[in-house]
């Protein structure tokens, strides 16, 4: 099928802020995610970057149905998620799995690795144990773990190996999308390459799509076909990974990529140092949310919110670019 596997349109999530001891009334809302749209194509990786409070974690949670959107729609293989009944919703759950950041908290310390990996499968599909065992061995092979790992407990494995277990578990249902939330940040530097390579190989082999969230820009650029940059709940720029990383257009993206640490002492970047702190998502600035810190702010930016519009093969939300 040609269309995107996952599509979000005008996705919004506001968390109400309540006050009052007895009768709490809503005094405001944390606008964690505000009207964002993105697509994830089959077999491709969408990288999501941004700093604290940008909404990328909330977006991931909504994709995983751990949070319910307060606005907008999500479509899975063309079907609106809100119109799905219980059975199809379950099917969606099976098609979208996750790998989280902390390999030490992602595995139940009291369960054997084999049971951890196969739990999603046996919860959703009643299969004879012979078949379950076969699939378990195949998964272990896929992620590069030995057969005997199935009988062991998580604490007998290192961080990198645990992440492999988490990846095997995420793949047990043959999902279409895997949400990777900082999958290598908690691992030792010398092991990150192993895991990133593994993830790429699995994508090539199984055709699975990734939603890749990380703060290491180089890793995101390396892994992603498309990168979306978020700031205070909005997507400010989205486009092809390589070109976006080489020539960012939105001032925030430029500042972000210039802040990335160099990989060689001779690498000189134009340092764009932003002033001030990230404003609170409860009271985002008017107009373009980035305007108080933007080195190129125009008078228009404080009143009018820029739309995400095409600009040389990319989508950018900035008044600097002619509409």
């Amino acid at each position: 099928m040609a269309g995107p596997v996952l599509e979000a349109k005008n996705l919004t999530k506001h968390f109400p802020v309540k006050q009052g001891v007895f009768f709490s009334r809503q005094v405001g809302a944390v606008r964690a995610v505000d009207d964002i749209s993105f697509t994830i194509d089959p077999g491709k990786t969408l990288g999501l970057v941004g700093e604290s409070g940008c909404g990328k974690t909330t977006t991931a949670k909504m994709v995983l149905l751990l949070e319910q959107p307060t606005g907008g729609i999500m479509r899975f293989e063309g079907q609106d998620l809100q119109t799905l009944d219980g059975g199809s919703l379950k099917a969606y759950r099976r098609s979208v799995q996750a790998v989280f950041q902390d390999p030490y908290a992602s595995l139940n310390p009291r369960m054997r690795v084999g049971s951890i990996i196969m739990e999603p499968l046996i919860t959703n599909e009643p299969l004879p144990s012979v078949e379950v065992r076969k699939r378990l061995l195949r998964l272990l092979e896929l992620v590069g773990l030995p057969e005997r790992a199935a009988e062991l407990f998580p604490h007998e494995f290192s961080g990198g190996q645990r992440q492999r277990i988490a990846i095997a578990r995420a793949l047990s249902l043959s999902p279409k999308v895997v949400v990777l939330d900082e999958p290598v940040s908690a691992l030792d530097v010398s092991i990150r390459a192993q895991i990133l390579n593994l993830l790429r190989d699995l994508q090539a082999q199984l055709g699975v799509s990734y939603l890749f969230i990380a703060h290491d820009l180089a890793a995101v650029a390396h892994m992603s076909h498309t990168i979306a940059v978020m700031y205070l709940g909005k997507i400010v720029e989205v486009g092809d990974g390589e070109t976006l990383a080489k020539a960012p257009k939105h001032p925030y993206t430029q500042a972000l990529f210039s802040a990335a640490l160099p990989s060689h002492p001779d690498e000189r970047r134009d340092e764009i140092i932003l002033t001030g702190e990230v404003p609170s998502p409860m009271n985002p600035p008017s107009g373009c949310r980035f305007h108080p810190r933007c080195p190129h702010a125009l008078p228009r930016c404080s009143t009018e919110e820029p739309k995400l519009l095409p600009e040389s093969g990319r989508l950018v939300a900035c008044h600097l670019y002619p509409q």
Binding site: R192, A193, L261, E267, V278
Partner: protein
């Protein structure tokens, strides 16, 4: 003054388990030099011993740790021979340290002003009023906006980046000669990290500070440091000027590490990964600790631990491949 500001000579710090059965050689025969105003990066992964090394410098180790051998010469004096009282006068005043998590470094029950003023009052016996005045100046020096109101606030009212600056202010309050920064930016966002590193660099110039970065992030080393020491399983496997090491790393671990990191603007298809994982410091492999993972391993490496060899004017490498005659 002549000579290096801080010099470690063959320092070894071991941890002994309570019954004396297990010895973990957390730091094994490490020698380093830090000049005045210089910036040294100590790079390593988990189990490399870099944090133990940092704590050894200030003698802040738990009771299970023993200094087995070596010297820590600070301005010519051996810190290992000092009494507890003498060390207390050095900590915070002449050698300062900042840690990774600013929320854990600040006491939630005291105001910012009290916490920044505390080292001044302890080391210089200043009055509360004058210490608070100095605290205000320090907040300005670390670029905190509206310091007069901030000074009365509590840590939880500030953002992560601001807290880390407060920690920095506390550290430089008594004009130390050396500032040790243990993963100071790991918990910070990218743009905040950039601000903070620039601040550290400016403070270094204005206060004539020598900086030691303890980190696993080679990017920080590339950006901030002029000297680097790479640690693996408690030993220093390579050291030298940053540019030299990046351009021609002599030790296979350093080479592999530099190769395996994804680079912006470099569209390689596959990263060159290192097999295996960092060793358990209490049970390192025999011979050279890196040998199970080394792409250039030789028979000798499995049984004999290599000593440090000089590979260039200021560069050393602990590898049999760097032995004279084998290059």
């Amino acid at each position: 003054m002549t000579g290096p500001l801080l010099e470690l000579r063959h320092l070894s710090t071991h941890y002994v388990s309570a019954r004396g059965t297990r010895v973990t050689r957390a730091v094994d025969d490490v020698s380093l030099v830090l000049d005045q105003g210089g910036t040294l990066g100590i790079v390593g992964e988990s189990g490399s011993g870099k944090t133990t090394l940092a704590l050894s410098l200030l003698r802040l180790l738990p009771p299970a740790a023993r200094f087995v051998s070596g010297e820590i010469l600070f301005e010519g004096e051996d810190l290992l021979k000092k009494s507890d009282r003498e060390m207390r006068r050095i900590r915070g005043k002449r050698i300062a340290m900042i840690l990774q998590d600013p929320m854990a470094s600040l006491n939630p029950l005291f105001t910012i002003g009290d916490q920044v003023a505390e080292p001044i009052r302890v080391h210089e016996h200043a009055s509360r009023g004058s210490a608070w005045g100095r605290a205000l100046d320090l907040l300005k020096a670390v670029r905190i906006a509206a310091p007069e109101s901030r000074v009365r606030e509590y840590p939880h009212q500030l953002s992560g980046g601001m807290r880390q600056r407060i920690v920095g202010a506390i550290a430089i309050s008594c004009e130390p000669r050396v500032l040790i920064a243990d993963e100071p930016t790991t918990s910070l966002d990218l743009t905040i990290q950039a601000q903070y590193l620039n601040l550290l660099r400016d403070l270094q110039r204005s206060h004539n500070l020598a900086l030691i970065f303890i980190t696993h992030n080679l990017g920080i080393v590339a950006k901030m440091c002029d000297q680097v020491a790479v640690m693996y399983a408690g030993r220093m496997v390579e050291s030298g000027p940053v540019k030299q090491i990046y351009n021609s790393p002599a030790h296979p671990y350093t080479q592999a590490l530099l190769e395996s990191i994804p680079r912006l603007g470099d569209s390689r298809k596959r990263l060159t990964a290192i097999d295996g994982q960092p060793p358990d410091p209490s049970a390192p492999p025999a011979g050279c600790a890196f040998h199970p993972r080394c792409p250039k391993v030789m028979d000798r490496c499995r049984t004999e631990a290599p000593p440090e060899f000089r590979v260039a004017d200021l560069q050393t490498s602990r590898c049999w491949l760097s032995a004279p005659g084998s290059r």
